[in-house]
Homo-oligomer: 237 residues x 2
């Protein structure tokens, strides 16, 4: 089935304390988002990417897309005020007829350590079940803060799942869901599809598929990429 | 105030797929637990350690304690069937009169990336408030599985706190709490103290203070230690 990946990098990231948003910081000499694009391009030869960027970074996005050597498989569109708006823009930029059945991956641009194996697993499971949401167990104890703040209560961590991306869906499931009006509880694609009555199929994610949000994560990612003998990585110039 | 650290490494860890339990695997040529001991020894000169190990690893523990150069500050005791039992054994091995007021840190042996700054913060806050439980925000979306399994529901991740160690208490708070009988809901020290009516004071943990539980974590930890210009680290031989 035809495959589209909506890669969301619409943020202007402030937590990193750096001059560039985190999706443009360099890992092993290449922008974070370059690594993400590369893994998706390598996962399936017939996969096309819609890269969602802040409007003011479109030009930078084009340069990075060109540097993957597969610019013809990457379209760039502008981000929105929230993740939901960015994903909706990304879905709108998918080429070809809306009624064409396809599998749509929605992925955090800053999860650049994702591996092709997880992308392929999500594809297979989404074809089989309609959706595939990668989750991992939580190694730490967990507490839930009361709504008013201050007080907290323990939660059995065996019940807790940490949700990763690519959140993967049949187009027939995710497209109608994004026809609904925005609601504040739409914090990821799973919550949107669920609100439409879609059933979520959880799959086992990868512990290494972290979101790069702090300088500490950059150090981690450098270490992981250095240790990874990954045939999908092109040699660096 | 007098300071004791109960460092819990009572597990025989099977998740790592290695011959040794994870607390004995080598990071930069030294066992994981060596790094943990070293940070606590460096945090306060008058801090003493009770290292809780599986009975069959006491001898190995003595060798590691000697290799820190501060064996006289480290006592070794045997672990129990659960974390609660191991911590209770550790508290029982604290030297000196029970009524002596002190601050007691309880720390996961496999959180070897903890920094002296966090240990000192926990000390100050426990002296001020009776307890100090380090927590960090969760970067991922979170879902809670229903008790029966299968179904899951989203949780607002702004309410979720991931709990780290050292969980730190005034001795007058933690000692009586461990006089209660064991209950299955005692998954960490915070839940025990809370069951006794103790009030928990949450403090900001460190993103880097991860629990080493998988081979991926070992790669992360190598990268972090390599990147860390930490004056508390002794040069390796």
């Amino acid at each position: 089935m035809k495959k589209y990946a909506v890669i969301v990098a619409g943020g202007s990231g402030t937590r990193m304390g750096a001059a560039s948003p985190k999706q443009f910081l360099l890992l092993r000499g290449k922008p974070v988002i370059w690594h993400t694009l590369r893994v998706f391009l390598d996962a399936f030869e017939d996969l096309e990417i819609i890269l969602v960027l802040p409007e003011e970074y479109r030009e930078e996005g084009r340069t990075i897309a060109a540097s993957t050597g597969s610019a013809e498989r990457i379209r760039i569109t502008g981000g929105g005020a929230t993740r939901w708006h960015s994903v909706r823009n990304g879905l709108g930029a998918i080429p070809g007829p809306v009624e064409e059945p396809s599998v749509i991956f929605v992925h955090d641009g800053v999860r650049c350590l994702v591996r092709t194996a997880l992308i392929r697993l999500c594809y297979d499971e989404a074809v089989r079940c309609g959706s595939a949401i990668p989750v991992v167990d939580c190694p730490d104890s967990v507490r839930l803060m009361a709504a008013g703040g201050g007080l907290s209560e323990p939660v059995d961590r065996r019940r807790v799942k940490l949700v990763q991306t690519p959140q993967t869906f049949l187009s027939t499931m995710i497209r109608p869901a994004y026809g609904m009006d925005y609601q504040e509880r739409f914090t990821d694609e799973a919550t949107v599809v669920e609100a439409m009555g879609g059933k979520l199929h959880l799959v086992e994610g990868e512990r290494g598929n972290i979101k790069i949000t702090t300088p500490f994560d950059m150090i981690l990612a450098e270490g992981v990429l250095a240790a990874r003998p990954d045939p999908t990585r092109r040699p660096l110039p």
